[in-house]
């Protein structure tokens, strides 16, 4: 085992690694939940890839909405409804700007990334797929960007094919070309950042190749939007989806962005109030987008909290958050590799496009046992298949431990992880 590196040895690191571009202490002060002890230790939250925490401004915004302005939206008959509608639609504008969308009405509020993808599969998919058509996903997908396509393929007779993962744990773009070569691909659907191993996919390149082959491109941005600058027009994708709760926002709210002409052509997803224009017993006409896809009273407070969350990220600057992620990912990968002989690290090398999501196994200690031991040291990680069973199969493991570092995590959290892993080795006599 090599000598442990400490912050005092940071001068041996490249210049861009010596200091985080974020003021971590100031950021932590905005997250009340982080200020607590777990099992007698400072809480070290390394599970933001499962769900991030919320800054006080998001919690305050939701409380403020319920305290002062709540009523149902789009009814307009009284002052509170006007205010609620304005706050709800303002939030849509914030999310649209956050994604680099040209117009607010291209953003549909959903429950989550999962629901956004199901909305596309059940509307666009049912209307446009048939026998002989192909939907291309990848071996690295979260189940939420795989199972909806399996369901729609089963219904429509279309076929599902998967881009292979290379040995260095990236998407095999040559294989994508081979799949597109059939001329039958109608849609390519991939993640933007792998929630399991942190790979950042070259989405603009995938968009270009998909379009050249006449296919549309959907991106599962659940793991990317919280930590990368997103510009859906620059990427030139057709659908982009993400969730509030991984981006410092509330649970139960997500967004689907799609080009306006696609949304216009898609049939409604669910029927009910809010989504109609005129209703007769036999048939109805539907509201214009985005309301056509928002049946029933929406998650108003969730959307408003979501708006506050993307404002918070915008104020920190996604470019800066990404620089912080790159830096911390590299520190974590190098430190763990130096410190633990028996560690296996998954995902691309530190110098390749990757996020601060670090998956690993340590000696023969099962990831669930690692998670239990780390929990007792105050360190929260995730253990399991990370909703990516095909990827786990590809990597030849049943489960990994995953430490995900976000904008409130710094070197002291890494050191707490290192201490916890030493404790695990000691308990397991490794």
């Amino acid at each position: 085992m090599s000598a442990p590196k400490t912050a005092s040895q940071a001068d041996s690191l490249p210049a861009e690694l010596t200091e985080s571009p974020l003021d971590i202490d100031a950021i932590r002060a905005e997250f009340p939940i982080l200020d607590q002890q777990v099992h007698g230790h400072r809480l070290v939250y390394l599970d933001s890839a499962a769900s991030a925490q919320r800054p006080a401004v998001v919690i305050r915004t939701i409380a403020d909405y319920y305290t002062k302005d709540h009523a149902n939206v789009h009814r307009g008959a009284h002052e509170l409804s006007v205010r609620a509608t304005r706050r709800y639609e303002d939030a849509r504008g914030k999310v649209a700007r956050f994604l680099g969308a040209g117009r607010a009405d291209e953003v549909v509020f959903t429950r989550s990334t999962t629901e956004s993808i199901n909305l596309v599969s059940m509307t666009w998919g049912i209307a446009n797929l048939g026998p002989g058509d192909v939907v291309v996903v990848s071996e690295m997908e979260h189940h939420s960007n795989l199972v909806p396509w399996q369901i729609v393929c089963e219904r429509t007779g279309a076929e599902i094919q998967a881009i292979r993962v290379t040995d260095d744990q990236r998407l095999d773009l040559d294989h994508l070309d081979a799949l597109l070569g059939s001329g039958d691909v109608r849609l390519v659907a991939t993640g933007h950042v792998s929630n399991a191993i942190g790979t950042i996919h070259p989405v603009d390149e995938i968009a270009r190749r998909a379009h050249e082959a006449g296919a549309l491109y959907l991106i599962d941005g659940a793991q990317a939007a919280p930590q990368l600058p997103i510009d859906v027009r620059a990427i030139d994708c057709d659908f982009y989806t993400f969730s509030g709760h991984k981006a410092c926002g509330p649970t139960g709210i997500g967004a689907l962005w799609a080009r306006r002409e696609l949304l216009d052509a898609m049939p409604p997803y669910q029927g009910g109030g809010e989504m109609i224009e005129e209703v007769r017993i036999e048939r109805s006409t539907y509201a214009a987008v985005p309301h056509k896809f928002e049946a029933g009273t929406p998650n108003i407070a969730g959307a408003i909290g979501f708006g506050a969350a993307v404002d918070f990220l915008q104020a920190l600057d996604p470019e800066t958050i990404h620089a912080h992620e790159k830096r911390i990912a590299r520190l974590v990968l190098e430190r763990l590799a130096d410190e633990f002989k028996a560690i296996t690290l998954y995902g691309p090398a530190p110098d390749v496009a990757r996020a601060g999501v670090v998956s690993f196994t340590l000696a023969d200690i099962h990831p669930h046992d690692l998670a239990t031991i780390l929990d007792h040291e105050g360190v929260a990680i995730r253990a399991g298949h990370h909703c990516c069973q095909p990827l786990m199969r590809r990597l030849g493991v049943a489960a990994t431990a995953r430490a995900s570092f976000y904008l409130y995590n710094a070197e002291d959290d890494l050191e707490a992880l290192v201490r916890g892993l030493h404790r695990a080795q000691e308990l397991f006599r490794v």
Binding site: H368, D369, T372, I373, H376, G384, A398, A399, R423
Partner: protein, 174 residues
Amino acid sequence: MLESIFRELILEHYRKPRNKGALENPTVTVSMRNPMCGDEIDLMLTIDGDRIEAVGFTGQGCSISQASVSMMTQGVIGRSIDAALDLEKRFVALMRDDEGASEDRKLGDLRALQGVAKLPVRIKCALLGWNALDEAIKAHQKSPTGAMGEKLEFEDLTELPAGFDPATHKDDLP
């Protein structure tokens, strides 16, 4: 706390599980998966009349699930079905932290798992093999010969054992 869970005996069973491997001609095979964490075992039994002649298992999981099933096989091979069910009842009592369960000498090595009772989120790991055993015995009792060769598959959705009172374990809940 952690020392009381990851004991020497548990690690020893985790690294050198007893009776691991497939049986040649089991009379009943139960596959039990925990879809939440991915732990899975195939438990094979050869039951002759009322007697459990042989037990084997394959699969993978954490130290607690693997040690528990390994010790379980030792506890039930060569015993009657009633004795196996009695042992299961005693083990569930240990996981529920019932009065006196940790002193139950009939549990033998299984008492090493008593620390898991203080860790509600891991109790399902310790019970995975026992839930498989329970299903296997039920299948055998329904059809003592008919179950032969057919693998029965289950998803173990048990979060906590019946009768477990989270109120007494407040400090350990996630």
